[in-house]
Symmetry: C2
Subunit: 352 residues, 2 copies
Amino acid sequence: MTRIAIDAMGGDYAPKAVVEGAVWAAMEYNIPIELVGKLYDIERELDRIDQEGIVVGGGMFAAKKIKVNTKKLDIKKTHASEVIEMGEAPGQAIRKKKNSSIVLSVNAVVTGSSDAVVAAGSTGAAMGASLFGLGRLHGIERPAIATVLPTMKGPLVLMDSGANTDCTPEMLYQFGIMGSTYAKSVLGIENPRVALLNIGEEAGKGDELAKDTYKIFEENKDKLNFIGNAEGKEIFLGNCDVIVCDGFVGNVTLKTIEGVARMFFYMVKQEFYHDPITKMIGFLVRPILKKMYAKVNYEEFGGALLLGVKGITVICHGRSSAYAIKNAVKVAYNAVEAGVNKSIASYYGEIE
Amino acid sequence: MTRIAIDAMGGDYAPKAVVEGAVWAAMEYNIPIELVGKLYDIERELDRIDQEGIVVGGGMFAAKKIKVNTKKLDIKKTHASEVIEMGEAPGQAIRKKKNSSIVLSVNAVVTGSSDAVVAAGSTGAAMGASLFGLGRLHGIERPAIATVLPTMKGPLVLMDSGANTDCTPEMLYQFGIMGSTYAKSVLGIENPRVALLNIGEEAGKGDELAKDTYKIFEENKDKLNFIGNAEGKEIFLGNCDVIVCDGFVGNVTLKTIEGVARMFFYMVKQEFYHDPITKMIGFLVRPILKKMYAKVNYEEFGGALLLGVKGITVICHGRSSAYAIKNAVKVAYNAVEAGVNKSIASYYGEIE
């Protein structure tokens, strides 16, 4: 049975939101869970949930409170005496704090007590602990973060979303391989179309990195469905399934999308609430906008997948709600069940 | 009197939209114009306008047709026998086609017959012709493109929007100086706040380029109001006035914004037009959305300014409408009147 280890202490609203999300996932999807963190905190939260219940809903669904008996759910508890804080230097922290919740979450996968990790704390610490604890997949120089974005037609995998700031063309090619494998095995996309994020469509466009990466993709067209360059404005048309870039560009792109989306909803509010008539129209529009918001809300996508390590680690937004954690557990579960790592490894001729 | 030279042959809808936009600017703002292109085409368009009038409006204003007598407007016509097409290699094309409309538009500024150029054709050709014809400002290694973006609070200058793909930290610092000068002299922002586009707020974040650039900005804090790193999601909060990055990242960011905005309006359409009730609500909402769209529509901003050359060149979107051209002429006019180049040059101790 696939079990998901969750760093109960990671994220802005931990342990409350994390434990609630874990309980919710265990209930809704029947997924076995391993909560890793300070035992006292975990048990206090579980007791509270048993007494108060949890609020389910979120996204486009109305919230409601339901009763829960956490003792009837398959939830393991593993004590971790330390916590890595957001400000700490990740490399140093994971070496020093061997009993931190993130290190022991990864350790749960290493020892086989769980099959994947969900973490909403420091991204650097989650990456470092995973790389250090699980090791790289054969053929992969640097693990990268895959984020799933909504488009006009379907989901799109952005690789790398921020793990590697300075990249070589070979690394970007590997991101393409991993992204394609993910799109195929987890999202179920047949023969995923892979594009290189660039500032023009023609070959020969872009900076040195983009030009050299283009050549490698072209040379390996038999191994990968490379469809050429794609500009930022095309990302959302749904004309490709995987978009490849270095982690600096990927992270800026991702956060720009978040910023534009927020501005849009801010503007909607401004326009609708400045006089009584538009206020009335705004009242009618609210459910429609809510539905739209749910489609672009990062919480729906549940977190980004660290690809390239010998295991599955789902990295969540620091501000993750219980709803986001619940969805992240599902993403981790699906990735394990789909055998995404076996697929990447088999591309490089090594079945594990 | 400040006169604006316009490449009448550049852009997807040239010469029609360009000539109409030029006439509109001459009428609305009383700005003297120099149309550069095939004389036969220019005169045919002007004759047509004299007979048919032009459609004014656009953006949030309803369109209406008005009568025009172009002979009463201050419009010079300069013949250019050649046109540089979108597909041509810019460097080669500007050397070979010395009588092209873009080269002669820049030449009009060199000879003093006009004071600035507006161009909607090949961005590479407009940049190349400007750099080659006008020369660089003292102290500037590479000219860069400044784009003005809307935020929740006010306008923001993005530097570089796509002129330079591979940059050094020194170049990025110069982009900061130029962007700051532009924000001050053209947008009227007192002591503009300059931020470095990065993937985290803390110093020491980002790729090698960002880290090294941060140091230069820090060392020159007395010359520039450097406020540190800004993430993509903060761009739209209006907490900074100038955001600096290399042209690759800037162009991807700009086009991502365009893509997200388009997806939003697509989603709005989808959500509102799928049943009779939401259709009715959609009907009420339309004017409000139109107003919102106008605020983010690139046509309102009229084009991007090439900074760092000894002259003013405004580069427009290839799909520029007459409305976009009219606004671009205004941007060029304002930049000349504000003396943005004098300000940049004086920073480097050379008043021209």
